[in-house]
Amino acid sequence: MDYDKALELFEPTLGFEVHVELNTQTKMFSDAPNPAASGAEHGEPNTMITPVDLGLPGSLPVVNEEAIKYSISLGLALGCQIAPSSRFARKNYFYPDLAKNYQISQFDEPIAFEGSVDIELESGRTITIPIERAHMEEDAGKLTHVGGATGRIQGAEYSLVDYNRAGVPLVEIVTHMITGAEADAPEVGKAYVSAIRDIVRSLGISEARMERGNLRCDANISLSPRGSGKLGTRTETKNVNSMRSVERAVRYEIQRQAAILQKGGTITQETRHWHEDTGVTSAGRPKSDADDYRYFPEPDLLPVEPSLELIEELRAALPEPPAERRKRLKAAWGFTDLEFRDVNNAGLFSEIEATVEAGTTPAQARKWWTGEIARLANLQGADASSLISPADVAALVALMNDGVLNDSLARQVLEGVVAGEGSPADVVESRGLKLVSDDGPLIAAIDEALAAQPDVLAKIRDGKVQAAGAVIGAVMKAMKGQADAARVRELVLERASAE
């Protein structure tokens, strides 16, 4: 159904579950290296595991103290209360992504609860997202389904399991129901995930790269007939893994459910899968009977009882809240309202701030991130931040400032960096994209161009300097763009008057 029509008939209610992989050095309950740690690589399958991660007999989990501190910091940044005592629980299920037949999670005693996050929409509207809880748990391993339809679970003949990711510390942030988002619902989803990403990045507790699964979002959506006051049946769309996809998935689900309801149909409470390529969700398993997790307190682990001193110490160390940061950056960067909004909507604060810290002006950083990088990101359907690091953008700008690259060469270098060819300096070297800084070859090309266009030469000598454009164009072409146009112009005028 048409989106506007759907909103006319129904009120959307949203809820989000965001999983954040913490970037501690080791896992949640074992001292295996954490593949989600800062700078870590995923490693060959089943090389980042200990007996604890395989749930081998006799192994005992022990809680990573750093992960507790990170979780408390995150809870505080979400405005939550920190539980004086919280416990781990076993969530029992039968699926081989964890070897133990259960996931260690938190159930009725999460470490943090009842907070809120303010998000700002493009229109300037601010919405407060109520947070129900943030609890700690462990990530699961990765299954590759072999045989049957490619990459799909149905029809798979067998599955291969890599437990490197099993046991990676996770915090799951669960919102209360979000009402009143109305037509902004898709944007609310995107802005909320963006706000969570900004918070965990500012805390430095996660790499927060959605394309790597460091940050994963499940979106719960239901519709109620306008004015009915009756909550509709919700669906849970799993693993929507870019901010853009969150926005698209919410919009799609609203339209899909509205079409069914309008025809008098009913919504099945179920898990749905988001398909990035086609932009639709499809039905997964129904929620009812597989959710029989038989939670019970984890007997291998003791309660976590953070001292008030620790909580206050972590509270005092919290970075500037993103909303306040926004105000500060707006003042510091001197962008126009429109420019600043573009940056905000694109979720590029951290990128631009880090790029400026690495040595560019705010204007240069903005130009690249909202310009060429955003364009490439759009083409690839990826988030801009996944394409290039702020340090590499700053290095690219520095190469321009040093006269090694002009604008068009810099774009080519950017493409090389995005294609994984290394740092800007590497790409300059391997693709041979340097500007010709030696005047010798330039003068040779200029003399040739002047000789080929004697009429232009005559005009320049008559003082019609603008005629030089034709010669400059010819020289730039001869140099395959690898010349500084301003220097070429200087030399053209010099050579023209010299002869």
């Binding site: 080791t26 060959e44 200990t50 039968f94 399991v161 890599d162």
Partner: protein
């Protein structure tokens, strides 16, 4: 399935758990296990006769909390060690039979 009385072990509960765990049970086995599991649950349930509202729930017999580990990487298993007990593998990953249903 919703539990109105989570303590009650019925043959339906046993066969449901068996299907979740992918264990094939005969009707005789289900009946036998229903009785045995019921007896276990009932004996554990005796605790509730002495536990009153003013006794806080506990998950551990020793009054300890905050047992933590420093965030320092230790020794990992080699791939060979990790796979040593696996009935099937491809040399680096565990192989399991076809998964019906969905990822959790």
């Amino acid at each position: 399935m919703t539990d109105t009385n989570p303590g009650a072990i019925t043959s339906e509960v046993v066969s449901h758990l068996a299907s979740l765990a992918r264990i094939a049970l005969t009707t005789d086995e289900i009946e036998k296990l229903t009785g045995e599991l019921g007896a276990i649950v009932n004996s554990v349930a005796k605790v509730s006769e002495v536990a009153t509202d003013d006794v806080p729930a506990t998950s551990h017999p020793i009054p300890l909390s905050n047992v933590f580990r420093a965030d320092v990487p230790g020794v990992t298993l080699t791939t060979e060690q990790a796979l040593a007990g696996a009935p099937e593998h491809d040399g680096s990953r565990f192989a399991v039979s076809a998964i019906l249903g969905e990822e959790q």
